[in-house]
Symmetry: C2
Subunit: 186 residues, 2 copies
DNA sequence: TACGTGATGTCAGTCGCTGACATCAGCTGC
DNA sequence: GCAGCTGATGTCAGCGACTGACATCACGTA
């Protein structure tokens, strides 16, 4: 253990989400976040690149999880089957619906945060298509499968945090993927 | 005519693009842009909401052009035919390849600008799908057609500014759309 | 000719973000 | 046990984006 209360990063994440919910993203200063977490603003910027990034700290883990699942899929599996495995893995990581819903409500209320979310999604998509290409999927198919996978994730995530909480994210994603299949087949 | 040299907004746009090209987006201060345009930084912020927006000032015109073309398409036209008409209209607006290429090179060099571009594209997509729904296209088809149209625009735009300048944007977009059709048909 | 108007300048201030340096508890080697 | 190293944090000064309030001033108009 260090000299200070450990887990400053986690405390900063919680404090930021709370304050963004209570008074809005723009109205919250980094100094306030630090104060609530028991550190200074300077320490905040040692953990997070900027004021938005504190809401997206989990995105690297998410991406690594997706790619690991993609690479763990059987070699014989098709592109979309591998993408489905990646989405299933995401469903196993994102289980705290309350937290996801709160975080999402902050993001949809602020344009800057939506910008950051869009670039994170683009990064996920690129990681997926890169992974598919490593599996031998050729170029237009790899990009299309990746974009489709991310689109399904976004739609399903939106439903999951909005609708009554009777299903988990993995289920909603599978259902959304099936619906997409039905549409494109028609 | 006013007291001052008219066209401050246009001068600011030119000055900003020049400076972003010469020394990079981050290294350029708003005061420098104003100086080159013959105004103060305060005036810059009266024309543009922030330092990035000066590169995206034309996006409203682009969106209005697309929507006008969409609504001008014959009532009997299918969703993708209407989208094609919208893309053709975009091709008629974006004719200065040199300018587009310069602007794009600035954007791809900076993450903040890519974020802004992503949200502009999302806005275009939403406007397109809204327009399609007003034409009576129902919901999953409208969104899919809109996303497809924007995807084609992005891919074709990238090709257009990158490849040797022997075709105009409209041609490249039509070609990209045909290629997509071939892929999805298979 | 006085007055209103609109684009601009000026000024002060807040806040995001950074670099440089100081601090200090614990670990490590002796 | 002591000296020194290390790493997380604090402190401080500073830059630059952005904003609100108010002043200015050429032009059009009554």
């Amino acid at each position: 253990m260090g000299r200070w209360e450990p887990g400053a990063g986690g405390r900063l994440r919680e404090a930021a989400l709370e304050l963004y919910l209570e008074q809005g993203f723009e109205q919250t200063t980094v100094a306030e976040i630090g104060e609530r977490a028991g550190v200074t603003a300077r320490t905040f910027f040692r953990y997070f690149a900027d004021k938005r990034e504190v809401l997206f700290a989990g995105s690297e883990v998410l991406q690594d999880t997706m790619i690991a699942a993609l690479e763990g899929a059987p070699e014989s599996a098709s592109a979309m089957t591998a993408v489905r495995a990646a989405l299933d893995a995401v469903g196993r990581v994102l289980t705290d619906r309350e937290h996801s819903a709160r975080r999402q409500s902050v993001i949809v209320a602020n344009a800057e945060l939506q910008e950051r979310e869009l670039i994170k999604m683009a990064s996920l998509s690129r990681a997926l298509s890169d992974g598919l290409r490593r599996r031998g999927v050729s170029d237009p198919q790899a990009s299309l499968a990746a974009e489709t996978g991310i689109a399904v994730f976004r739609v399903a995530f939106e439903r999951w945090v909005t609708e009554p909480a009777d299903r988990d994210l993995a289920q909603v994603m599978r259902e959304s993927l099936d619906q997409l299949r039905a549409i494109t087949a028609g």
